[in-house]
């Protein structure tokens, strides 16, 4: 119960601070938008081609802007050394992780919902044909990125090369998420039955569960000095 209290306290604190400064959301949205535009210039695909490659471009855009957002999100804890106060509190580090994960997940998902139509317009996609499936794919994929990203934003905050370390560590590790989420999004855009993506769904769910648990267990070590 106290774990939930701590996690929600952290979540509320993050959302309140974000509402005031919009640090993380501006980073994700502006970068995501810029990426969408650059992809559109770089590829200029025909509608058929677009359906094939849009899944990949969409998730690459999400992933890169997520890295930026996660870095900004953890910067809030390192400013004034607020992390020290968190470590002083009689809270289990696992609950701190959960709170941070929830706030990252929420912000990333919201930003993705805003970025989706941007990609839709540039690549002429019909994204909303099956909104339930789309949201499920978004949730599972983003969860995987946020689960690892939350832990690694804390890891990279402790290094000299903060901004570089996060993508260097995170991108290889999230390859399974990228592969599965891109496959599923491509199925969705091609109008194929989602039952063809059973394996991918299971892989995403497995990834999310395993790494949420593992990061929850390991987060305390990252906070130690």
């Amino acid at each position: 119960m106290s774990a939930w209290r701590v996690a929600t306290a952290l979540l509320r604190k993050d959302l309140r601070a974000e509402w005031r400064t919009k640090d993380v959301s501006t980073a994700i949205l502006l970068f995501g938008f810029t990426i969408a535009v650059s992809f559109a210039f770089a590829f200029k695909p025909t509608p058929d081609e677009a359906r094939l490659i849009a899944g990949g471009l969409l998730w690459l855009g999400f992933l890169f802007s997520a890295v930026l957002g996660l870095n900004r999100g953890f910067a809030r804890e390192t400013a004034n050394n607020c992390l020290e106060a968190l470590r002083l509190a009689p809270a289990d580090p696992g609950s701190l992780y959960l709170g941070k994960l929830l706030s990252n997940l929420l912000l990333l998902l919201l930003a993705e919902l805003v970025l989706l139509p941007v990609f839709g317009v540039f690549f002429n996609l019909t994204l909303w044909a099956r909104p339930g499936w789309l949201l499920l794919i978004l949730l599972l994929g983003t969860w995987g990125v946020a689960a690892l990203g939350t832990l690694f934003s804390a890891v990279s905050a402790n290094t000299r090369m903060q901004e570089l370390m996060l993508p260097l560590l995170l991108l290889p590790l999230t390859v399974p998420v990228l592969v599965a989420a891109v496959d599923l999004t491509t199925l969705l855009l091609a109008g194929r039955p989602m039952s063809e993506g059973g394996l991918q769904f299971r892989l995403l769910a497995g990834f999310d569960i395993i790494f949420t648990l593992l990061c929850w267990l390991l987060f305390g070590y990252v906070l130690e000095e």
Partner: protein, 229 residues
């Protein structure tokens, strides 16, 4: 380990490695029959596949040593982890170099998205990240903690990366992968086993030297502290 035992052990490992490598290469070049479909280039397999096994085993050691460090907080575990990670990355690099050289004449393209090779590539990137991270954390204990976390997560990621690549499904089926009924001739199996032994010995040799380096570094730090005290 005292200095003299260390020298004796490393000499023994060095001798064993040289002997095993010589014998294994003799097998590879003079004894084993040429594979019918792929021709002489298939002999790359005898260094390619064992290298992958060695690097994988070393990354397993990284994971175990990382858990060991988190549980005991003994820096020796961290030295084991970094030694295994660095040598594992070197072996990983040789897998990634020999793979495409083998693939080109057989499948006509350098990179055929074989799930095993692709997994090795991701593994390589993960552990390059691990080594980079170590470079950018000053404090010894902090470095050990953070890299232990990355080591454990990195290793846990491997099976999932492999599964993700397997259902991508546009790669040629692995013709020779050791097992899966690919039907190795008896001589081929013997040669493979000798190669496996020889490359593991090489891995052990490099690991011991790298571990030694880490111990020396610790000793230097201790001496600096003794000098100030």
């Amino acid at each position: 380990m005292s200095d003299s035992t260390y020298h004796r052990v490393s000499l023994a490992v060095f001798a064993a490695t040289v002997a095993l490598l010589l014998y294994a290469f003799y097998q590879v070049f003079f004894i084993v029959p040429t594979e019918v479909k792929m021709g002489v280039v298939q002999r790359i397999f005898y260094i390619h596949m064992p290298s992958a096994v060695v690097s994988f085993n070393l990354f397993f050691v990284v994971c175990i040593a990382s858990i060991g460090y988190l549980k005991t907080r003994r820096l020796a575990w961290d030295s084991v982890a970094v030694a295994a990670a660095e040598v594992g990355t070197v072996f990983c690099a040789t897998v990634l170099i020999t793979g495409p050289i083998w693939a080109k004449p057989v499948w006509g393209s350098w990179w055929a998205w074989d799930p095993r090779l692709t997994t090795t590539l991701i593994l390589f990137l993960i552990f390059v990240g691990y080594l980079m991270l170590r470079l950018y954390v000053e404090d010894r204990n902090r470095r050990a903690l953070l890299s232990a976390v990355v080591g454990i997560i990195g290793f846990a990621d491997v099976p999932i990366v492999y599964m993700a690549n397997r259902f991508r499904g546009q790669h040629p089926a692995p013709v020779l992968g050791g097992g899966e009924g690919s039907g190795l001739a008896p001589e081929m199996l013997t040669t493979l086993l000798w190669s496996l032994a020889a490359l593991h010995a090489l891995g052990l040799l490099l690991f011991l030297q790298r571990y030694r380096l880490e111990q020396m570094r610790t000793e230097v730090n201790e001496l600096y502290r003794a000098l100030r005290a």
